[in-house]
C-alpha cells in the first residue's frame, strides 16, 4: 500500500498537478458520513483529480464531526439519480474501500464518458457497489427486525419509555431510524449501538455518538412471555436449522431474548417428533348432537333429482348446485340460479353467468347486467318484476393471462342444462319470454334459429304467448364505438316490443 501511495504522488508530482508532494497525495478524510464525502468528492472532481491520485482514509470516530467548510469549486457534477441512492447505501458500509470505490464510479460517470455504467450491473465496480449496498440494506432490515425494546418506565403524562441495544456491522443507525420514528412515534425510545445511538424523546429525534456496551441492562417482564410464544410456535417435526441461520445469523443471537432457547428446542425436537409418531392413533369421535353441525350438514346435502320433479324455484336453485350433467361445475364457483318473483309476467333468459355473476352467485350483475338494467329502464320495464335467468347455470371459462375469460357454452352443455331452464319456465309460466342472444335461442328454440335472421317477435307458443328474440347485452359491450349507440337503441326497441305486446294484450 505504501509503495503504491508513493508511486501515485510521485506521478502526480511529475505531472506538475500540484505544488508540493504532500498535497499531491490527496489524502482525504470523509469520516463515516456521506455528506462529508460528497463535499470532498465534488471538490476533487471539479479540480480534475483522478481516482488513482486520491487516498480516501476515514479516521476512527469522525462520524459526528461537522462536515468541513470547503472552498468548493463551483462546478457541480450531474449524476444519474440512481447513483445518489446507491452511493448513500454504499457509504453506510464498514468496508474502508467504499469511499474510493464511490469516487471511482463518480469519476467514470462524469469524466470518462461512462454515463451509463450503472446500467451494467456486471461491471466489477458496479457489482461491488451493489454488493456493499445490498449488505447495508439487509442490515438495515435486520435492525428493523431484531431491535428488541425493553420498557424502562413511564413519564408522568403516561408516555412510555423504551430502550434497546443493537450491534450492527455497518454504519446504519441513522438510515434505519426513520422506520422506528414512524412506527413508535407515541413512545419515547433510545436505540444504543457502538456505531451511533438514535433517540426519540418527546417528539424530537437526535443522534448521539456510539457507546461500547449496553448502558441499561434491565430485562423486561414481557421477555419471558415472548420466550413462551417462541417455544410454542416452533413445530418440532420440521427442524430446519440451516434455513433459520441463513435468515437469523448467529451474530444477532446474543441480543435476542429468545435465542438461547434454540439449542434446547432443536435438541429435543427429534424425541418429541418420534413421541408423536409412536402415540397410539385415536379413533374418530362421532359428532355431538349440535344444531350448528346439523345446519352445516343441511347446507351440503343437495338432493340429486329430476328437474321436472322440482316443486318450487327454491328447490330448483338448490338442486342445480348438485348438477353434474356436464363438466362445467368443476371449475365454476357455484351454479347461478335464476332470480325474480315466481309469478313474473316476463322471463329474461341470458347465456351463462360471467366472472362477476359466478363470484356473486346472481345473474346479470356484471357489466352486461348493468347495461341490461339501463336498457330495461329505457324500455319502461322494471327488472324486479321480471324473472332473470341463464340458459347455462355454470360459468364456462378459459385461462388467459391472469384472468378467467368467458367461453361460449357448447351444444352439449346447453343441452345438459336445458332441463333446469325448462323447469324454471314451467314454474314461472311467464306470458312473455325475452331471449338474449344465440345460446338462449338455441336452448329454447333449437339450432336453426339465428338472432341475426329472426330478431324480434318469434312464434313459439310452446314457450310463451309472446317471445322476443334479441342480442345479448354483452354484444353491445363488444360492438365498435361508432355503432354502439345505434345498437343500444335497437336493443331497447326490441325490449319495448315485449312491453307493447304486453300492453296490447
Amino acid at each position: 500500500m505504501k509503495t503504491w501511495m508513493v508511486t501515485v504522488c510521485w506521478r502526480g508530482w511529475l505531472r506538475g498537478r500540484s505544488n508540493s508532494i504532500f498535497s499531491a497525495m490527496h489524502s482525504l478524510d470523509p469520516g463515516d458520513s456521506f455528506a462529508t464525502w460528497r463535499i470532498k468528492a465534488r471538490d476533487v472532481l471539479a479540480r480534475g483529480i483522478p481516482p488513482e491520485e486520491i487516498l480516501w482514509e476515514a479516521a476512527e470516530g469522525s462520524l459526528f464531526e461537522e462536515p468541513p467548510e470547503m472552498v468548493t469549486v463551483a462546478e457541480s457534477a450531474v449524476v444519474p439519480p440512481a447513483f445518489v441512492g446507491l452511493a448513500k447505501d454504499v457509504s453506510c458500509h464498514a468496508d474502508p474501500r467504499r469511499w474510493e470505490l464511490l469516487y471511482r464510479l463518480l469519476w467514470r460517470i462524469v469524466k470518462s464518458g461512462e454515463r451509463h455504467v450503472l446500467e451494467i450491473a456486471s461491471d466489477p465496480d458496479v457489482a461491488m457497489a451493489h454488493r456493499l449496498a445490498k449488505n447495508v440494506r439487509r442490515e438495515i432490515h435486520k435492525m428493523h427486525a431484531f431491535v428488541r425494546f425493553r420498557k424502562a418506565g413511564e413519564a408522568d403524562d403516561g408516555r412510555e419509555r423504551f430502550v434497546a441495544w443493537f450491534e450492527p456491522d455497518h454504519f446504519i443507525v441513522e438510515a434505519a431510524a426513520p422506520f422506528f420514528r414512524k412506527r413508535f412515534a407515541n413512545m419515547d425510545w433510545s436505540i444504543f449501538t457502538p456505531k451511533g445511538c438514535a433517540h426519540w424523546i418527546a417528539g424530537e429525534f437526535k443522534m448521539s455518538p456510539g457507546v461500547p456496551r449496553d448502558p441499561c441492562d434491565q430485562p423486561d417482564v414481557m421477555e419471558g412471555i415472548w420466550r413462551t410464544y417462541y417455544r410454542s410456535i416452533f413445530n418440532p417435526a420440521r427442524l430446519k436449522m440451516k434455513a433459520m441461520q441463513s435468515e437469523m445469523p448467529r451474530r444477532y443471537w446474543k441480543n435476542l431474548p429468545e435465542a438461547d432457547l434454540i439449542d434446547e428446542l432443536s435438541r429435543e425436537s427429534t424425541a418429541r417428533t418420534h413421541g408423536m409418531i409412536e402415540e397410539p392413533l385415536r379413533p374418530v369421535k362421532r359428532a355431538p348432537a349440535n344444531a350448528y353441525l346439523g345446519k352445516l350438514q343441511d347446507l351440503s346435502s343437495f338432493p340429486v333429482a329430476d328437474p321436472a320433479a322440482s316443486t318450487s324455484l327454491h328447490d330448483i336453485a338448490r338442486m342445480t348446485q348438485a348438477c353434474r350433467q356436464c363438466p362445467l361445475w368443476e371449475h365454476a364457483t357455484a351454479a347461478v340460479p335464476g332470480e325474480g318473483p315466481e309469478n313474473a309476467h316476463i322471463m329474461i333468459v341470458g347465456e351463462q353467468p360471467g366472472d362477476r355473476e359466478d363470484l356473486e352467485g346472481r345473474p346479470f350483475v356484471g357489466p352486461a347486467g348493468q347495461l341490461l338494467d339501463r336498457a330495461l329502464v329505457e324500455a319502461g320495464l322494471d327488472r324486479s318484476t321480471c324473472y332473470v335467468t341463464n340458459a347455462v347455470k355454470h360459468f364456462k371459462w378459459t385461462p388467459r393471462g391472469k384472468l378467467r375469460l368467458h367461453q361460449k357454452p357448447g351444444a352439449g352443455e346447453i343441452e345438459a342444462c336445458k332441463p333446469w331452464l325448462l323447469a324454471e319456465l314451467s314454474k314461472v309460466a311467464p306470458e312473455i319470454v325475452i331471449l338474449l342472444g344465440g345460446t338462449a335461442a338455441r336452448s329454447l328454440l333449437g339450432p336453426d334459429v339465428q338472432v341475426t335472421k329472426h330478431r324480434g317477435l318469434v312464434a313459439a307458443p310452446q314457450i310463451a304467448s309472446r317471445v322476443v328474440l334479441t342480442v345479448h347485452p354483452s354484444y353491445l359491450l363488444r360492438v365498435d364505438e361508432l355503432r354502439k349507440e345505434a345498437e343500444f337503441r335497437q336493443f331497447v326497441a326490441d325490449l319495448k316490443l315485449a312491453v307493447s305486446s304486453q300492453v296490447q294484450e
Binding site: 451494467i120 461491471d123 414512524k182 417455544r231 420440521r238 355431538p288 378467467r404
Partner: protein, 412 residues
C-alpha cells in the same frame, strides 16, 4: 389460567398454519403522533423458529375448542389436547405489549369453531375492532374467517384486517369428505368469491380517491400437502383456479406434519418437506414466470420431481428450446432458463443494451454457471449440442440422491 399458560396452548395450536406474511398492507404509520404502529411495504420477520419459519406476527388461536373433527388438526373435537381460550381483551393486550417491544408486525388471529360460525367470527372480529378502534392500532392484522360465517361478519373482518383468509385445507371434495367431513369446497369457494367482490370494490373506491376507507388488501388460503393421496397436479390446478377466480395473494402449502393425539384416519408417514418446497416453486413459476400448470405437470406425471426444481425439470423436458442466446432472447424466454431469476434477467436486459454478455458477467451477477451453462449462449460461450442431450445433464444437475424425509434435516 395465566395468560402465559394460555399463550403456550393457543400458540402451539396455531403453529400448523403456514401463513405468516405481513406484506402488502395499505401504507400507513403513526408519524402524526396518533395511534400505535405502522404497516405497508415489505413485512418484517422479527425472529425465526428452529423450523426455519419466519416469526412476523403473533399467531394465536382465540380458542382451541372446536366443534369440527378435521383429522389432520390437533384441535379437532376428538383430540384430548388441553383446551384454553383468550378473552378478546387478553389477546389485544398481548398484541400491543409485543408490538411496542418490536417483537412482531401485528396479529394473526384464528380460532377453533365454537357454538357456530357467526359466534366464533364475532369474537375474532371483536379483537380486531378493539385493536383498531380503542387503541388506534396501525400494525398488521390477519384474520382467519369461516366460510359459513355471515357475509356481514366477513365484511367487518375485512374492514379491520389487512389480510383475511379462509383455509381450503384440501384440494378436492373427496379429500375433504375423508379428512374434514364438516368442510365443503363449494362453500369455501363461494365465500372467497364474495370476498373478492368486496376487495375489488374497495380497490375501486381507493382508486377513486376514498382515502378514509380502511379495508383488507387481499385474501389467502392454506392447503395441507401429503395428508392423503391428492397429487401435485390436484394442488396446482386448484391453486391456479383460486388465483384466477378469487385473486388470492398466496396459496400456502403446508406439509402435513405429525401431531400429538393422531387420528386413525391419518397416513402413517409424513410427506417429505421438499414436496412442499417444490409446490411453492411451481406456484411461483405460475404466478410470476408465465408458466401454466399444464407445462409443469402432465397427466402421466402428476407429481413434481423431488430431486430437481420444477423449472429445471421443465427445461430438461423441453431441450429443443435451448440453448438460448442471452444477447437476443426475449424477457419471457430468459425467465425460462434454469438458474436465472427475475432480477438477474432484468439486469441482463439492461447490460446487453451497452455491451456483449459474457460468462464473466454472469459470474459477477452471482449466477450459478454450472446450472445455466448448458442452456445459454453468450458472446464467449456456445455450448456443445451434446451438453444438452442425453442423461448426463440431469446427472450433473441433480443433487446426489439423499433421502430427504420430514426429519432428514434434523441435526443432532
Amino acid at each position: 389460567m395465566e395468560v402465559s399458560e394460555k399463550l403456550a396452548i393457543l400458540a402451539d395450536a396455531a403453529k400448523y398454519d403456514a401463513s405468516c406474511a405481513s406484506s402488502g398492507a395499505t401504507k400507513r404509520d403513526s408519524a402524526d403522533g396518533r395511534g400505535v404502529g405502522s404497516a405497508g411495504g415489505a413485512g418484517i420477520c422479527h425472529s425465526y423458529a428452529p423450523d426455519g419459519r419466519c416469526i412476523s406476527l403473533l399467531k394465536i388461536l382465540l380458542t382451541n375448542r372446536c366443534l369440527y373433527d378435521c383429522h389432520y388438526c390437533i384441535n379437532r373435537r376428538s383430540s384430548n389436547v388441553r383446551r384454553a381460550a383468550f378473552t378478546p381483551e387478553e389477546a389485544v393486550t398481548l398484541t400491543l405489549d409485543f408490538y411496542k417491544r418490536n417483537y412482531i408486525e401485528g396479529l394473526f388471529l384464528s380460532s377453533g369453531i365454537i357454538r357456530s360460525a357467526d359466534h366464533t367470527m364475532e369474537q375474532v372480529v371483536q379483537v380486531a375492532r378493539t385493536l383498531r378502534e380503542v387503541h388506534d392500532f396501525r400494525g398488521y392484522i390477519h384474520l382467519k374467517t369461516i366460510p359459513e360465517a355471515s357475509p356481514e361478519l366477513i365484511e367487518q373482518a375485512a374492514r379491520y384486517a389487512d389480510r383475511i383468509s379462509i383455509n381450503l385445507e384440501l384440494p378436492t371434495q373427496q379429500s375433504l369428505d375423508r379428512l374434514a367431513p364438516e368442510k365443503n369446497l363449494a362453500r369455501t369457494k363461494q365465500a372467497m368469491g364474495r370476498i373478492r367482490v368486496k376487495l375489488d370494490d374497495a380497490a375501486e373506491r381507493k382508486r377513486e380517491g376514498d382515502r378514509k376507507l380502511r379495508h383488507a388488501t387481499g385474501q389467502s388460503t392454506q392447503v395441507i400437502v401429503g395428508a392423503d393421496a391428492a397429487t401435485d397436479a390436484d394442488f396446482l390446478a386448484r391453486s391456479d383456479e383460486l388465483y384466477r377466480a378469487y385473486r388470492l395473494r398466496r396459496v400456502y402449502y403446508s406439509a402435513f406434519s405429525p401431531i400429538p393425539e393422531p387420528s386413525s384416519v391419518l397416513p402413517p408417514v409424513a410427506p417429505p418437506l421438499v414436496r412442499e418446497h417444490r409446490l411453492y416453486q411451481a406456484d411461483w413459476l405460475m404466478r410470476y414466470y408465465g408458466f401454466s400448470n399444464s407445462e409443469l405437470l402432465t397427466p402421466e406425471q402428476p407429481n413434481l420431481d423431488l430431486r430437481i426444481d420444477p423449472k429445471l425439470a421443465w427445461a430438461l423436458r423441453n431441450r429443443q428450446q435451448f440453448p438460448l442466446n442471452l444477447q437476443t432472447a426475449s424477457r419471457l424466454e430468459m425467465l425460462r432458463v434454469p438458474g436465472l431469476g427475475m432480477k438477474n434477467v432484468d439486469r441482463l436486459l439492461s447490460i446487453r443494451r451497452h455491451t456483449h454478455v459474457r460468462l464473466a458477467d454472469l459470474a459477477r451477477l452471482r449466477i450459478s454457471l454450472p446450472k445455466v451453462r448448458a442452456f445459454i449462449i453468450t458472446a464467449d460461450h456456445h455450448p456443445a449440442r451434446e451438453d444438452l442431450d442425453g442423461d448426463r445433464l440431469l446427472a450433473r444437475l441433480a443433487p446426489r440422491p439423499v433421502q430427504l424425509d420430514l426429519f432428514g434435516d434434523a441435526q443432532p
